[in-house]
Amino acid sequence: MDATVAMATHPASFVRKPDSWLTKLFDYKPFLVFLCMLPTAGLLLVFLTYPLGLGIWLAFTDTTIGQSGSFIGFENFEYLMEDPVFWLSVTNTIFYTAIATAGKFALGLWLALLLNNHIPLKAFLRAIVLLPWIVPTVLSSIAWWWIYSPQFSIVSYVIVDVLHLRDTYINFLGEPWPARWSLIVANIWRGIPFVAITLLAGLQTISPSLYEAALLDGASGWQKFRRITVPLLMPILAVALTLSVLFTFSDFQLVYAITRGGPFNSTHLMATLAFQRAIPGSQLGEGAAIAVSMIPFLIGATILCLYGVGRRKWQQGSDND
C-alpha cells in the first residue's frame, strides 16, 4: 500500500474537520468579551443602574406613596432651595463628615502605629479593634442610645454620682449641639477600626530596613514618622480617606437609630432627611430630590481625596527588578 492510498482511506487522521459555527462564534473575541461581562453587567443594571435611574427620575416628579406622579422639572429642587431644614441637613452633613473623619484618622493612625509594634497578644488586640466594625450598626447604635439616655446614661452616672463633677445628668440627645457631638463620637467609634486596620496594612508594607537606614542616617523617632512613615502611607491613606468620607457622608443607620434627626430636625443628615421626607412623609419625589443632591457632594469629595493625597510622582515609573 503506498502513501497516497493511505491518505485516501484515513482522511480524518490527516485533515481537521472544519470548525462548526458554534466553535467559530466562541473563538470570536468580541462575542466572548460580551458573554463574560454579561453576568456582572446584568447584576449592575438590575440592582444599581435601575434603582439609581429610578431615584433620579423620581426627583423630577411629584410622586407620593400610592400615587404615581408626573414630571415637574426642577420644582422639587426649587422648593428645597427655600427649605431651611434642607440647608440645615446639608451643613450638618458637611460638619459631621469633616469632624468625624478627622477624629477617625487621628485615632485610627495612632492605633495603627501602636498595633504595628511588637506587643504581647498582638493578634488578639487586632481582633478586638475590629469589633465596632463587625457589630451591626443598628445594634451598636442602640448601645450608644443607652449611653446617651437622659436617665440611664453610664457617662452621666460616672460624672455625677462617682466623680461629682456635675449636679445634673447630661441631656445628650435633647439639645441640638450636644446631640450633634454625641453622634459624631458614636460615628468616630464605629469608623476607627476601618481606618486602623487599613493603615496598619499600609504600615506593614513599609520595609523595616528603611527605618534602619534612617536610624543610621541619624533620624529621630519623630523624623522617621514625618519623613518616612507619612509619605509612604499617603497612597493607602488616600484610598482609606476617600472610602471613609463616602461612608460618613452617606451615613444613615447611626443617626436614624439614635436621634431620628431630632431634636427639632437639628441632627438630620441629608440621607436621613431624604428617608424622612420620602417614606414616613410619603413625599417620594421630594425625598429623591434630597438624595440626588448628595451626588455632586460625593463626587466632589472623591475627586478631592484621590487627587489631593493620591498617586504621587515617586510611584510612577517601572520596577526594574
Binding site: 530596613s209 528603611l210 534602619e212 537606614a213 543610621l216 509612604l232 515617586w314 510612577q316 515609573g317 517601572s318
Partner: protein, 352 residues
Amino acid sequence: MATVSIRDVFKRFGSTEVLHGVSVEIEDGEFVILVGPSGCGKSTLLRMIAGLENISGGEIAIGPRVVNNVAPKERDIAMVFQNYALYPHMSVRDNMAFALAIANAPKALIDEKVARAAQILGLTPYLNRYPRQLSGGQRQRVAMGRAIVRDPQVFLFDEPLSNLDAKLRVAMRAEIKELHQRLQTTTVYVTHDQIEAMTMADKIVVMNSGNVEQIGAPLELYDHPNNLFVAGFIGSPSMNFVKGKISGNAFLSDNGTRLPLGHGQGGSDGQATIYGIRPEHFLLDPAGVPAKVNVLEPTGSETQVMAEFAGGNIVAAFRERITARPGETIHITPNAALAHIFDAATGKRLIA
C-alpha cells in the same frame, strides 16, 4: 577613618547563641570581608557594628571608642543594605542628602557633598530621578552615594551585590574596589560569595556557625587553609578531599591508592587523615594514579575533568587539552608539594 576592634563578641537571641566569642582586628583603611555560608552570623556581626543589634557579650570599638552603648547615629558609620533601603519617595538627590538634611547641615554644603558623590559614582544625570526609575546597578550606586556623602569613619556593606545579575555583579565588584582605593575608608563587607571575598578583600574573615575559622589575606587562605572548612570554602572549584591515613612517607587512601607527600606536611605514621588537593594541582603523568573520566568540561583556557580517583570523585583542571573521552582512564598525579594533610578527627591542617 578608624580601626575597628571586635573583641570576644557574643550574640544571643533569647537562649540561642549565634556568635560564640568572635575577635577580629581591622586596621585603618583596610577592606575586610566577612564570608561564610548562610546562618554563620556574619550579617549579625555587621549589624552589631552598625548598632542595629545589641551586643550580648564582649566589646566592639571603632577607633579608640568602645561603642557597645553608643547609638547607631553616633557611631559615625554608614551602611549599604542588601536591598539598598532607598527611600522610594525621595529623588536620588534627596536620598543622598537625607542624613545631612536631618543634621541641619547648610544647604550649600549638602549640595556640594551630593554633587561630589554623584560625580564619583556617575550619578549626576540621575539626581532628579526616583529609585523606581533606576536600574539595579544604579540603585546600588545611590546606596553607596548615600554612604559616601556622610563621610563616615567606616563603611559597612551587607551583601550589596546579591540582588544583581552575574555580569553586573562583576562590574560593581570592580567599582566598589576602586571606590575603596580612592577613598581609603575602612570597610567591612559581608558576603557569602567566596569569589567576591577573594577578589576584593585586603583581609578575609571566614566564619562558620558563629565562629571565626580563619583570618588572613585572600591568597594566604587559599595557600594555607587552617582547616577542612576553609580549605573547602575558599577556591572554585573547591579542593578535593581523599580519606585515608599516613603510611611511611606517603598517604594511603582507604581504597589502597598511594599518594605522594611533600615536605612540610605533618601527621604521624598510621594517623587517620584527609588528603586535600586543589583541582589545578594535578599533573598528567603516565606513571601516575589511574583516574576514570566521567565528565569533561573544556572551557578553552583549561579543561576540567570530573573523574573517579583513589576511591572517590574528584575535579581536576588542566592547562593541557585532554583528548580522553568519558569512560576512558587517564593517569594523573597530585603535585605533592601543594597537597595538604588534615587531621580526620579535628579537621585541622597538620604541619610538620
